[in-house]
């Protein structure tokens, strides 16, 4: 008995993100999965991020204070708005019960490029009651902000260990542990630190350690509470060498509203401590300085509602009666509170709205 390969399909999604920091993102994606033979499947995907960011413009104005020189070696151009392209290609192959997959990804934008390679292996045991998963991801980034004169690198090596265990006819659980080693420049290049001391004001580039070891352990359990509905409960603990600790709790309720209509309600809560060198205000130049809000202490809440509708012949509405089509949609709300205001927007609370619509078609 072999593991099932991903279904042959084309999936198209139109995703959007809007927040009160005046960041608007539209990102359509297309993903194609095709079997080469009964044991081999290939997947290709293409994504475009179209970002309109008033906050980015704010950063540019702030950056003007630093008298940053015209970029000669970086990604200098005339617009702070972004267009990111991402392509990926992957292959999954079954070797008897063992499934091996490898994936390569390339992402490029005017001030950033990224190459990622991932490899995973899934090994089932005990009549597939237990599945062991081992994974590696290597990420090689180049950062060349258009307001700076330098180009910097970041290398990320991540190792994942997972164990999925069937506990009963209605309960399945998954344990995960990840170890990530990051070397190099770990900021976006546009942030500035303000040194405020009485009437003295100076702005400098932030400085963080060039090494970070990140660890996370999580458990998720899925309970089949009825023939139609399931509840997923999850918890993750994270810790790293920058002294950030975080707790994440999540819950998901999934139900078949009809034979063809499925609904998912998700809630996620997250709380974190701040990096040991993060300060809201610096009064003197220090060896390490950072203002990035994600290094600050705070909490987030995330709520989303999603659906999928599988086309069927009983439906009299054209398109919806195509059995090869499945329609997907979701709407989400994300709130982040930080214990001091964001360095650029001067607000503690970020409110974001996410809308996604799409379809997949069997091929």
């Amino acid at each position: 008995m072999t593991q099932e390969l991903p279904e042959e399909e084309i999936q198209v999604n139109f995703n959007s993100y809007f927040d009160n920091f005046r960041l608007n993102v539209i990102y359509p994606t297309i993903n194609v999965t095709k079997s080469l033979d009964k044991n081999t499947s290939v997947t290709g995907s293409y994504l475009v991020d179209a970002i309109s960011s008033a906050s980015m413009k704010t950063k540019f104005q702030v950056d003007g204070i630093t008298s940053a020189t015209t970029n000669k070696y970086g990604g200098a151009d005339d617009t702070p708005d972004e267009l990111r392209h991402q392509v990926s290609l992957g292959v999954t192959r079954n070797f008897s019960d063992v499934t091996v997959s490898a994936n390569g990804m390339y992402s490029t934008e005017h001030d950033y490029s990224s190459r990622t390679f991932t490899a995973n292996i899934s090994i089932p045991f005990a009549k597939k009651n237990t599945v062991l998963q081992l994974g590696y991801a290597g990420n090689f980034d180049k950062i060349f902000p258009q307001t700076r004169t330098w180009t910097k690198d970041r290398t990320t090596n991540s190792f994942n260990f997972g164990l999925t265990q069937i506990l009963s006819k209605k309960i399945v659980t998954q344990l995960d542990f990840s170890l990530t080693n990051v070397d190099g420049y770990m900021l976006d290049g546009y942030q500035v630190v303000r040194i405020v001391n009485g009437f003295f004001l100076k702005t400098l580039e932030p400085v963080t350690p060039e090494k970070r070891i990140r660890k996370a352990a999580g458990i998720r359990t899925n309970f089949g509470i009825s023939r139609l509905s399931t509840i997923l409960l999850g918890y993750r603990y994270y810790w790293d060498t920058w002294d950030i600790r975080s707790h994440t709790a999540e819950a998901q309720f999934k139900t078949h509203l009809t034979e063809n209509l499925n609904m998912i309600f998700s809630y996620r809560q997250y709380i974190q401590t701040r990096a040991y060198f993060f300060k809201e205000i610096y009064t003197e130049v220090e060896p390490l300085m950072a203002v990035d809000s994600k290094l600050n202490s705070g909490y987030t809440n995330d709520v989303s509602l999603g659906f999928s509708y599988k086309g069927n012949k009983e439906n009299r509405i054209p398109v919806l009666n195509n059995e090869k089509l499945t329609f997907l949609g979701s709407i989400g709300f994300y709130h982040r509170h930080t214990d001091s205001p964001d360095w650029a927007m001067r607000m503690n609370d970020l409110y974001a709205y996410l809308i996604s619509l799409g379809f997949k078609i069997s091929i």
Partner: protein, 70 residues
């Protein structure tokens, strides 16, 4: 470090302490709703925006994971 040891302990308990559910007893488990990441593409998109806004990542499920059904 204590947490890591707890994790390893839990892992072995999970491996050794579960009754084997036979393939023909997995009707409920084979429901797509019992999968942890039914739509990996949507999961990837969500993780991307969360990782940009929060200071931690990882431990959210190994890629290629599943319930082992089928």
């Amino acid at each position: 470090m204590k947490l890591f040891y707890f994790f390893i302990l839990f892992l072995f308990a999970a491996l050794s302490g579960c009754a084997v559910v036979q393939p023909w007893e997995r009707e409920r488990l084979s429901d797509p709703n019992m999968m942890f990441d039914e739509n990996p593409i949507q999961k990837g998109i969500k993780e991307h925006y969360i990782n940009i806004r929060e200071g931690s990542e990882g431990g959210n499920g190994s890629q290629g994971g599943g319930c082992g059904c089928g």
